[in-house]
């Protein structure tokens, strides 16, 4: 069930099927991302692929007839059209065509009729139609999947294809459970079942224990993507944004040319692989140890006690930079993170965020939020996030002061767009959206407790919060997940406890949830969990998702509260 392995199998097979010789890989935008997440340049060279071209590029050149062309594209209408053109006037000697998903027979016919020069050797479906970020984590690269709190049809189609491709690439035919409160989850579940029955020939596997496909909705847990993060990968994404394993550092003052864009890939960067789930402080320690070790060997003595010292160290010892491989890159990244934390007082912000999400002390928290709103050193976006958390937490609290906080925001001159986000998140994920409380008041309290559970005895005040997903999955593993909140699609049910779980989050998942799944996999040998999402959010992208999702609906919160 390792997703990276599954995709690498496909790509390797593609490059091998065409035999030895120089190759060009012809891809579309999405398949380019899929492949670039898997391989470094030198790895792809080993497969004799030397050129990468885009099928939608409009350059018409003479072509190189002595090259073998491996076409790896999604079976979209535009791509088929481009490929038909390519085959009519082939630039390369032979073509090996691989579609990343199920393609219609009619499209194959179109292509066959375009191949008058008989350049095509193979046509296959290889289901590498998702972005494999970790062995247990995938994304579909859809930033905003809904509109008016309903599926955007284009994105629904892409999501169905993506999930079908995941299932085919790891050869699993699942039972489907979905979040009952979510229309979108139900709709996606039904669409997937449609494909499963239509393509039942492809889904005949020998399965010891059938897996569960659990479809959940981001709207059930809006808290996780709003929080500041302190584990390395999540933190980099929150503060610097990871896009296709790449981090843009060009805005950093005085950055050297080769570090303007850095690649963070656990597959090719041992330091990153070892540290991506560690918290910020531990990484600094690891780097310090490496530097000390180097000094001992080089008989040098320079104190390494702060991140500034580390940066100095890298500059003083170019040899360390050469020998430590990726470590100096991480010194830069860690340095940038630490300066952002300091500049924006993120420790202070994070402490209150954690309190708001895990404890209930209304008056004290309200007081602290007010203080931070009035503190001009705190970023606008951070105070807005605090107000959002407050609104989510105390929406139904009789003495809540959401309006007072909104007024404070306005007084501070926070832009309308941000102020509106507070309403948006209540619309997106207010208490009514999170669960169904028509008959049972007690359920409300329970769910609220789940989402904002108080944790005692946690030593790190910045990492008290655990995502809701953790509990959902723990329940599922124990066979205790409520059939009412997460019903099976259709009448068949699984009698055994599940061993293989594929959980998909509509509206995007987070690296914090990825870490949760990683830990569950570690704690439960024999259980395999894969996590996917329409995208991987940080707070900025999540706010965009909310804005998009709630566009075009009646904003009842605004009316109520004004």
């Amino acid at each position: 069930m390792n997703l990276i392995t599954a995709l690498k199998f496909y790509i390797t097979r593609m490059t091998e099927e065409s035999g030895p010789g120089m190759k060009v890989l012809l891809m579309d935008k999405q398949t380019t991302s899929i492949v670039s997440l898997l391989y470094s340049q030198s790895e792809i060279f080993l497969k004799e692929v030397y050129l990468f071209e885009r099928i939608d590029a409009n350059v018409r050149n003479e072509g190189l007839k002595h090259l073998k062309c491996i076409v790896f594209i999604r079976p979209t209408k535009e791509n088929i059209e481009c490929l038909c053109n390519e085959l009519r006037y082939p630039k390369y000697g032979t073509y090996y065509i691989y579609f990343s998903n199920i393609i219609a027979k009619a499209d194959i016919k179109l292509l066959a009729e375009s191949d008058e020069q008989e350049v095509v050797r193979e046509v296959h479906e290889y289901y590498a139609d998702y972005l494999a970020i970790s062995p247990h984590l995938f994304s579909l690269g859809i930033n905003t999947c809904s509109q008016g709190l309903l599926w955007n049809p284009v994105h629904l189609h892409r999501t169905v294809s993506g999930l079908i491709s995941v299932l085919l690439s790891i050869k699993k035919c699942p039972y489907i459970r979905y979040q009952n409160s979510s229309e979108m989850a139900k709709r996606l579940a039904e669409k997937i079942r449609e494909v499963l029955s239509k393509e039942s020939n492809s889904f005949e596997f020998k399965q010891d224990s059938p897996p569960i496909l659990l479809i959940v909705d981001r709207r059930d847990d809006p808290v996780t993507p709003l929080l500041n993060q302190w584990t390395y990968q999540a933190m980099v994404h929150e503060l610097l944004t990871i896009n296709n394993n790449r981090v843009n550092l060009s805005h950093v003052k005085g950055i050297s040319k080769e570090l303007r864009e850095v690649v963070l890939s656990a597959e090719h960067d041992e330091f990153y692989a070892n540290n991506l789930y560690l918290n910020f402080g531990e990484i600094g320690q690891t780097i310090k140890e490496l530097m000390d070790e180097f000094q001992k060997k080089a008989k040098k003595h320079q104190k390494v006690e702060s991140i500034a010292d580390m940066k100095n160290f890298v500059e003083t010892y170019p040899l360390f930079k050469k020998l430590s491989g990726t470590v100096s890159k991480h010194v830069t990244v860690v340095g940038e993170l630490s300066s952002l934390v300091e500049k924006h007082h993120l420790l202070q912000v994070s402490e209150l965020e954690q309190e708001l999400s895990c404890q209930s002390d209304h008056s004290m928290q309200l007081q602290k939020i007010k203080e931070l709103i009035n503190n001009q050193q705190i970023r606008e976006i951070d105070v807005v996030r605090l107000v959002m958390l407050y609104a989510l937490h105390y929406e139904k609290y009789a003495n809540n002061d959401i309006n007072g906080l909104l007024n404070l925001l306005k007084n501070r001159g926070v832009s309308d767009k941000y102020v509106k986000l507070v309403y948006n998140i209540l619309e997106y994920s207010g208490i009514n959206a999170r669960q169904n409380n028509l008959f049972d008041r007690e359920a409300v309290a329970k769910i609220t407790k789940k989402l904002f559970k108080g944790l005692s005895g946690v030593d790190n005040i910045y990492t008290q919060h655990t995502p809701l997903l953790n509990e959902t999955l723990e329940d599922l593993i124990k066979g205790k997940l409520s059939l009412q909140t997460f019903p099976y699609l259709g009448s068949t049910m699984m009698s055994k406890k599940p061993q293989d779980i594929i959980v998909f989050m509509i509206g995007g998942t987070t690296y914090e949830e990825s870490l949760t799944v990683h830990n569950l996999n570690k704690q439960n040998p024999g259980i395999k969990i894969i996590l996917g999402g329409t995208t991987i959010h940080n707070s900025a992208s999540f706010l965009e998702e909310i804005q998009h999702a709630t566009s075009g609906i009646l904003t009842k919160y605004k009316n109520n509260n004004n």
């Binding site: 599954a6 030198s42 060279f45 194959i108 066959a112 008058e116 020069q117 046509v123 492809s202 330091f271």
Partner: protein, 511 residues
């Protein structure tokens, strides 16, 4: 072709600076002239050493740290890596369906083309030289359309008159104007119909004498230049003029429709032979890489064994292999460099952007290969150091044996005590013997084949014969770099030698 000359010149031997046309020839030259010259090998090694520094861009000091610093010990294996092995996911093939559809469509064209080729063949067969006889011959094979019914040229739709006369296509018999026909030379026609076709086999063989580029151009002719649509083809009118002046006996007049069909087929045929020089360079480079990788694997095994002080492999063999690897690395560097500058100095037909990128990438991949595969090859211990290593190993073994003996002794004492009480007849435990072969093997390491050989009397003793066979095998295996086989064969040889030696000794003491 100015461009191809640029490509071919300057494949220089780095030793004697002789110019060679292709890497194959250069390598052959190397093997013939420079192979056993130790001076040359040394200089190659030096060259390679320079390349190493250049590629790694590292200073001397770094070597001592290279192994230790970046080793950030893996704290935890990710749980996903412990998941059971998986197989490749579902794959669905459409190749069969695709080809069915394609063939159905192409069959229409190919029957038509085949019909034309059969007619062309018949036309060429016994073609009369006399114009009148020839016309009869042509019309007998392809009936001509009655030109009275045709008022307009079916291709350009212009009306016929005195200045625009009617012409018949010799292949389909249709009528059209002069501008809408072209001439197919008899020579080209013959090539099209001959089963062996234009291309001789040498077109793909890199050993051929003729420049490859020339052959490719030859292979590409046919109708490619003739077949232009008449409206756009100034080339056509030029050709027609030329053709008219030379008379019709050298050509068949055919219509553009027929010409296009024939041309498509020629292009299809030519494609199989369209293999530019870069492919040959590239294939050679890949072959070197493959060979080098195999050697490196073998070498690393030998290196480890030698550094353990073992005598499975010879130090000299490892040295020879190391030089061989260096030589291959040098060749890979050289060829990839050639590829990266292919045609760049050509003014007339400079390589296009994509081609340049390709050549550059091939070069980059070679650099990565050299850096990651070959430059990691570690130096061997000196002979002195190796002797020390052997001694160390000997000491380790002896210490171990002594320790085991001691243990055994103690145990024996203990069991003696015990057994003395139980039973009287006690045999020595067999465990001592289990260790013995190991010791014997190591004591025999002073036995080199060369030092032993002269002692042997040249009789027809079967053991001696077998030994000389073994030596021949060893030589062969060594030449092929199959050092594992060398090791096995040598240990066989040693066994035989020790058998022979003990036999001789007992003979001597007997006699």
């Amino acid at each position: 072709m100015a461009g191809s000359e640029e490509v071919l010149e300057g494949f220089l031997c780095p030793i004697c600076v002789t110019d060679f046309k292709a890497p194959v020839q250069l390598t052959k030259h190397f093997e013939d002239f420079h192979n056993d010259d130790p001076e040359i090998l040394k200089s190659l090694k030096d060259l390679f050493g320079k390349a190493k520094k250049k590629i790694l861009k590292q200073d001397e000091m770094s070597c001592s740290f290279a192994n230790s610093v970046p080793s950030t010990t893996r704290l935890q294996r990710s749980p996903e890596s412990n998941w059971e092995p998986q197989e490749i996911g579902v794959m669905r093939s459409h190749t069969k369906y695709f080809k069915e559809i394609r063939n159905m469509r192409l069959e229409r064209y190919s029957t038509e083309t085949n019909k034309l080729l059969i007619r062309l063949d018949k036309l060429l067969n016994n073609l009369p030289t006399d114009p009148v006889d020839r016309k009869v011959h042509e019309r007998a094979i392809v009936p001509w359309i009655d030109d009275k019914d045709v008022k307009l040229c079916p291709i350009c739709a212009k009306s016929f008159h005195v200045a625009r006369r009617k012409h018949h296509c010799r292949l389909c018999g249709a009528v059209m104007c002069h501008n809408c026909t072209i001439f197919l030379s008899l020579q080209d026609a013959k090539k099209m119909t001959s089963p062996v076709s234009v291309q001789d086999d040498s077109a793909v063989s890199p050993t051929s004498e003729r420049p490859i580029s020339e052959r490719i151009v030859r292979a590409g002719i046919g109708l490619t230049k003739l077949a232009r649509s008449p409206s756009s083809g100034s080339l056509n009118s030029v050709l027609s003029l030329v053709n008219d002046s030379t008379g019709s006996e050298q050509h068949f007049r055919i219509c553009t429709h027929c010409a296009n069909l024939l041309d498509a087929r020629e292009k299809q045929k030519a494609k199989h032979f369209d293999k530019p020089i870069v492919c040959q360079f590239y294939e050679k480079m890949r072959a070197y890489m493959k060979e080098a990788s195999q050697h490196v694997k073998m070498y690393n095994k030998m290196w480890e064994s030698l550094n353990e002080g073992e005598s499975t492999y010879n130090l000299e063999d490892a040295q020879a292999l190391r030089i061989k690897i260096a030589k291959l690395g040098e060749n890979i560097d050289l060829i990839s460099k050639r590829i990266s500058v292919l045609g760049t100095r050509c003014v007339e037909n400079p390589p296009q952007d994509q081609e340049l990128r390709l050549h550059h990438m091939v070069r980059v991949s070679a650099m990565i290969f050299l850096k990651e595969e070959l430059l990691s090859v570690q130096a061997l211990p000196s002979e002195q150091r190796y002797a020390e290593l052997q001694k160390e190993r000997q000491r380790r073994i002896e210490a171990r044996i002594a320790y085991e003996r001691q243990l055994e002794e103690e145990q024996r004492e203990r069991s003696k005590e015990q057994r003395r009480k139980e039973t009287w007849n006690l045999e020595i435990r067999p465990t001592v013997k289990e260790n013995q072969p190991n010791v014997v093997l190591d004591q025999s390491q002073g036995w080199g084949p060369s030092s032993v050989a002269p002692i042997m009397p040249s009789s027809m003793d079967p053991i001696i014969e077998q030994m000389s066979n073994l030596r021949a095998y060893i030589k062969q295996a060594r030449a092929d770099c199959r050092y594992d086989e060398v090791a096995t064969l040598e240990s066989n040889l040693k066994e035989l030698q020790s058998v022979y030696f003990t036999m001789k000794q007992s003979n001597n003491s007997d006699g």
